[in-house]
Amino acid sequence: MINHLLEKPFAFSKSDKEEILLNIQKELLVHHAQHCSEYANFIRPFNLNKIESLDDIPFLPVQIFKKLALKSITDQDVFRVLSSSGTTGQTPSRVFLDRDSAALQSSALVAIVTDFIGKSRLPMLIIDSPDVVKSGQFSARTAAILGFSYFGRGQTYALNSNMDLNINAIETFLEKYQGQKILLFGFTFIIWQYLLKAAIEKDCRFDMSQAYIIHGGGWKKLQNLHIKKEEFKKALQQHFGIRHVIDYYGMVEQIGSVFMECEQGYLHTPAFADVIIRDPQSFAIQKNKTVGLIQTISALPRSYPGHSLLTEDLGQIMGQDNCPCGRAGKYFAVIGRIKAAEVRGCSDTIRS
């Protein structure tokens, strides 16, 4: 079933996709209830017979993976543990994958990305330090870089261990692949701070006009610096000649959910995932164009109950099946993370 959806991730319109995804979700509900006792406790109050659409699928809050180690597989079958970069003082999220899930995750990523940058493997410049894949913990950044590395060849790191521009490496890379389509990948803030700004400071003019740059990790840091998306794209074009800037939204807590930005500037749901917007106070479903909490649904999470999650990101659905870029499915925009709460009360003095 999933393989069918993976073959042509953006060819499934609402009528084609919904029933398939709903059936997979219902099956996953039962599967996780059977294999994960904590999830069984969670799902108990829900009447599974009353589920008629994707809107009715119960959702877990995304932070639950920081509180509990949820898995629907035995410890022996754990092949990889993904973890998010936790904020200071917090335990990171943990996501448990078996071999099949890890393979499926890769397939899903391939299916999506090739639709945006083509099927051939492009020479790849990673905007990060080589240390990011060496660290013991498999963080979100590590996962993203390793995942996207599949699409490239001749992987070269643009930064040194201390995050300085490795000008030599960059120039060698650009010279070697001059005139060819190339792929740049990195986290949004790192590209801004350690590539763009650093290059401007050092007055390096790199010709990257043949590049597709895929970037993720959110806009929070840039928002704090009052830098808008348009400015980011414009700067990349002005200084490096880059015309194809592709944002993506995803989270470590839900494998398969990589939403990439189309030529029109919208994030697209692939056939095996979907997005619902809910009111932050009542969790009621919101209409198109209304801002609310983003809930993401994925057909992939089988080894852990991550198939339906309510995130702490605000966004809005722009439309379905009618995006001018030609891709079927819902398309949406992410506004940003909800404001952090200032929590009161006695707590450990030691932590300060």
């Binding site: 932070q63 003095t349 030691i350």
Partner: protein, 412 residues
Amino acid sequence: MEVLLPETILPLEDKLKCLTQQKLLPPFAEVSIHFINAFSRSILQDSSLFESFPELVALGHWFRLGHIKKLQEDFYNINSSNVQVPRGIVLHFAPGNVDTIFIYSWFVSLLLGNINIIRLSQHRNAVVELLLERLAQLFEEKEFKLIKDSTLVLSYAHDEDITKMLSSYCHARVIWGGDQTIQQIRRIPLPPRAIELTFADRFSFCVLKAEALLALTPNGLAQLAEQLVNDSFWFDQRACSSPRAIIWCGNEIDIQKAKDLFWPLVSCCIKTKFQHLNTEPALVMRRYTNCVEMLMKFNADSTEPLYPACPTRLHFDQFNSSLRECHEGLGLFIELESTELIQAVKWLNGKDQTLTYFGFTKEELHTFVTHLPSGSIDRIVPIGEALNFSVIWDGYDLFKMLTRTIEVKSYA
């Protein structure tokens, strides 16, 4: 390390030596009363504080002159020839995050004539900054020089050496904080005759007799709802004394009727007074996540799917002790049921501090107290009074603990 109050150019060790040479004032000395009264007035006369710093206003109110006079009366009401004198230097550790509760023990200590050293965390919020500002202003007045010279407020990141040095000078050490903090500070030695008071993580309950609730008029019921809301949400249900679990007493039918009448009124009251618990997305998500966590870990007996609105209620047939550590406040109530009040004692332990109640007679409460498990419950007060501070707190009588008793015996 930063000295916040008073302004001084002396290095810490010298300042501490000065403190040891400072003469102690008698308990409830005129200047001490004047000082606290001046502070109280500066708070109560500032109407701008009522909305943004209600906890400071509550503090100002508790330390108003009328109440200080009553405390003084209570203190000297002991028919004895013994003499109470201050302990000496009292070292206070304020809790990490917010809470103004440590100010109560600090000011009581001040009234009792002690010299006070207060260690604040480096993350201070607006309330504490305002407090320091007001105190600094008072310290500028000549009349309060004695108080200024008997006070030291400082802030430093967790540093055992500084804590060691400060502790070596003190006669009493007061620690407000989580269990971990207390363990770590306790390891640092005290002088042989110094005492220590610890205010650790606590949990609190509210018990309601269904029958009594059903006998209330609609007005009475609304008032009861407001009392619960006041007890619970001033500090987002994070204060140790705020109830996080409700125990309903009575038969099944009465309890269900009572719940159906009561909870909508509570929701309504929250919307009026503490609506941020519903409108701040981050608080809603934290509460919802905590609720899901409890449901998953402890298998609550939930008959309906979870919802985000405040208050969220989780029903349990039995109270698992570990629920205490899991609960994060923020508008979530654990609901339990018991036919008789006396049966609820099996759920209580040493972590439980406050029990607020409604609908029980004095006799019922006294019987209940005699059956309490060892170490549990420090105060049983009517609903609505959970957050009222008292000189007797967490089992300590602060009047006795922060003074020394000199036995004076005359000839027989």
